[in-house]
């Protein structure tokens, strides 16, 4: 019976880790595929982070457009991150999470611009925040807002 208890105490977290890793990487891969497809559709919209509008845009219509997203971390990412914080190095799992969040927010902003009939977005800015302060250094997820001025 002691063997069974030991198996359960060690085995259940490992099962969760493996499940989180497999499902999490599946979600990630599909998200990256959706992002590539969306970005290909929206490639003709000009996006710059220049602040000053050129003088030639006289009399054009403007609209503030924004895209927002909140993405969750998962059990596996947090596990990896806690080890990297001890050993040092890049936390690639979080790098990928932030890249997905940024690209998703920008895609949503461009979709709002496209839906309203705009073809240019100026002064792109990105703000982020982590969500949930369960324990120091742990976060439930991160949120990004990407916004700019659409011009036509």
């Amino acid at each position: 019976m002691a063997g069974l208890e030991l198996f359960l105490i060690l085995g259940i977290p490992v099962i969760f880790l493996v499940a989180a890793y497999l499902i999490g990487s599946g979600i990630e891969k599909r998200h990256f595929q959706r992002l590539e497809a969306a970005e290909a559709r929206l490639r003709d919209i000009l996006v710059v982070n220049l602040r000053t509008l050129p003088p030639g845009l006289h009399g054009r219509e403007t609209l503030l457009v924004a895209g927002q997203v909140a993405l969750a971390t998962d059990y596996f990412k947090q596990f990896v991150a806690s080890w990297v914080r001890i050993l040092g190095g890049r936390i690639k799992v979080y790098e990928r999470l932030m890249e997905r969040a940024r690209r998703e927010a920008i895609v949503r902003m461009l979709e709002e611009a496209r839906a309203a009939g705009f073809s240019q977005v100026w002064n792109l800015r990105i703000e982020s925040a982590t969500l949930g302060n369960m324990r120091p250094g742990q976060f439930v997820g991160m949120t990004i807002i990407a916004y700019g001025t659409a011009v036509r």
Binding site: L71, A129, T130, V140
Partner: protein, 104 residues
């Protein structure tokens, strides 16, 4: 009310600067969405409840900012910026600020 995050509105010049205007909201989720987020935390994915929360927060904060600009008698708000932060577990603040101006 024209709202832009550039410093100028294309083709118009700024006649008078009315001042800084702002809007903010702090929104919390109800328990149902929070539980769903807790499950998402096991495997990852988008937190739709939180995203909707922040989109509503953005709209409300922008309304408040434009109302302030209206009170000052402005035509436009320029150089709008957003800031977002997590206030407490399950709640997020969205803050928007800009400069209210009149255009010629």
């Amino acid at each position: 009310m024209i709202v832009v995050n550039t410093e100028t509105v294309p083709g118009r010049t700024i006649r008078e600067i009315k001042g800084l205007v702002q809007g903010n909201t702090v929104r919390a989720k109800h328990i149902g969405r929070d539980i769903a987020a807790g499950l998402k935390n096991l495997v990852g994915g988008e937190l739709r409840g939180y995203t909707e929360l922040l989109v509503e927060a953005r709209r409300e904060a922008m309304q408040r900012m434009m109302a302030q600009a209206q009170e000052l008698g402005a035509d436009a708000v320029v150089n709008v910026r957003f800031a977002t932060s997590s206030v407490t577990a399950g709640a997020a603040e969205l803050y928007v600020y800009g400069t209210a101006v009149t255009l010629s």
